[in-house]
């Protein structure tokens, strides 16, 4: 199989698995206990927290382990909303957030909060000026996705962070797709809260973290035995925490070299598609984009059918078409770019990983054009188009 869906999830690296394994068996102690077996685990957690903190330019006591990106996003938004509700009830976000943020915002709206969903431009960008304009006296939180999971567009996070700081508003970013691919410094970029998830950078699933700047209070997410300094109780997922930290550490080693390689594959794919297939467009910003993201809309055809043809050849990718999501509407991200519905339905996303090769991209480039042609040949939209232009 050729796997081009690394934004969905990544395989756990062997080194990561190896680091995790002892914590399932011989090092099974509960980190809260006093004996030596337990203390070793406490040390492992402390160490993991230090690693994650250091890679974000944060302090260890600003890192809280969670069950993943969704939990971190929920906690960040609901936590700030709850602790600052006396101060104000207005939040600012964008139209292209992941559902973990979007649906949390909708929940907060149902609880009486007001949310501004900023428009993005045709490349998926919001500007710091847009954010500044949307800030009101009762704004308590700005939450902007660091890099979009569908189209790969990277937001001007440092500039937005600066605006937030100047206005005294707390700034959260969903960095689930960015962590492990982009160097992050929470102080330089004025980030107050940040969500990340282990399984997007070759770590295990079901483990993530929330960075919370010291001095910012949010209510405990889970009440119980006092773990995570009382903020998120429950016996720690030690193998997961160790796995996350090991994977994150590995991800940031030789990052530039790895990114150079992945970007080359990405650009080979983008240029190759443009060269071989007419009537298509790259979705997302051409330069300010994740090193591994390629997202195309192919006119006149629907994404899922193209995915199926590729799957039959052992090529795994994903699409923003409605028919894959179970709802009738195509991706809210593609619609927010201003794409007409048929183009949004005709989108397909390839996200590359460290192990993908030139040969695999070559193979995709060889398979893709006849598949697109095959589907166009059976499309009534293409028939209409040809008739109009003949």
């Amino acid at each position: 199989m050729i796997y081009f869906d690394h934004a969905a999830t990544t395989p756990v690296k062997p080194e990561v698995l190896e680091a995790m394994l002892p914590y399932f068996s011989e090092k099974y102690g509960n980190a809260s206990s006093v004996y030596k077996l337990a203390q070793e685990n406490k040390k492992a957690i402390d160490n993991a927290r230090r690693v994650v903190a250091q890679l974000l330019g944060a302090q260890p006591n600003e890192i809280f382990f969670t069950s993943g990106g969704t939990e971190s996003d929920n906690w960040a938004l609901r936590g700030i909303a709850s602790s600052l509700k006396e101060k104000g009830n207005h939040l600012i976000t964008t139209k292209i957030e992941h559902h973990a943020v979007l649906h949390t915002c909708q929940y907060l709206e149902s609880q009486g909060f007001e949310v501004t969903y900023l428009d993005v431009d045709e490349n998926g960008l919001v500007t710091a000026e847009q954010v500044a304009k949307a800030i009101k006296t009762d704004t308590i939180l700005i939450s902007i996705i660091y890099a979009n999971n569908e189209i790969g567009t990277i937001m001007p996070i440092a500039e937005i962070g600066k605006v937030a700081k100047e206005h005294g508003v707390i700034f959260h970013t969903d960095a689930v797709q960015a962590v492990g691919q982009i160097p992050i410094d929470v102080n330089r970029q004025h980030i107050d809260l940040l969500s990340l998830s282990g399984h997007k950078f070759y770590g295990p699933k079901g483990i993530g973290a929330l960075y919370l700047r010291r001095g910012i209070k949010i209510p405990s997410l889970l009440h119980g035995g006092g773990q995570e300094r009382g903020r998120r109780a429950g016996t720690e997922n030690v193998p997961g925490i160790v796995g996350l930290a090991t994977a994150m550490d590995l991800a940031y080693q030789n990052l530039e070299r790895k990114n150079t390689k992945i970007k080359a594959l990405r650009d080979q794919l983008i240029n190759g598609i443009y060269k071989r297939i007419p009537f298509c467009r790259l979705n997302g910003h051409r330069e300010q984009r994740l090193p591994n993201n390629v997202n195309f809309s192919f006119d006149f055809i629907e994404g899922e059918s193209l995915l199926l043809l590729l799957d039959f050849e052992g090529i795994a990718a994903s699409s923003g078409s409605a028919c894959t999501s179970g709802s009738l509407d195509p991706s809210h991200v593609l619609l927010a770019l201003g794409l007409p519905h048929e183009q949004a339905h005709g989108s397909i996303r390839f996200t590359l990983g460290e192990d993908n090769t030139r040969e695999e991209v070559d193979l995709l480039l060889e398979k893709l054009p006849p598949f697109v042609q095959k589907l166009r040949a059976m499309s009534p939209l293409y028939e209409d188009f040809l008739r109009k232009h003949s």
Partner: protein, 145 residues
Amino acid sequence: MYSEKVIDCFMNPKNIGEIEDADGVGTVGNPRCGDIMKIYLKIEDNIITEAKFKTFGCGAAIATSTMMTQMVQGKSITEALKITDQAVAEALDGLPPVKMHCSCLAERALQAALWDYAQKNQLTIEGLKPPESTTEEPEEKSIEE
């Protein structure tokens, strides 16, 4: 998630194309929902002698188009009207629940094509209703679902 039959009908679709001098043509669906189906029929002495389709849509939509056009071939109009989306789905060994809406299109496209035939020939066909407007937008849905 798809049955082998669905995959087969999708990978090896039959009856793709247009019929230049079709006796009935029906188009249903719209770009908004992501599936558009166009069916062409050739009808002689009340018998459907040829059926072809063009479909913009997912695997299920293309598979049901293939199956539907195969099922109507050689049938009388009355018999063809009895083919429901349920029957098409069954002939495909079932469709995932989220895909049932795609199979509804096949039934509606067939009826639209027969309606077109009836209109052109000033016939009334028992049990045949005019197709719903195809340009109609489905109801606004929130992303929460």
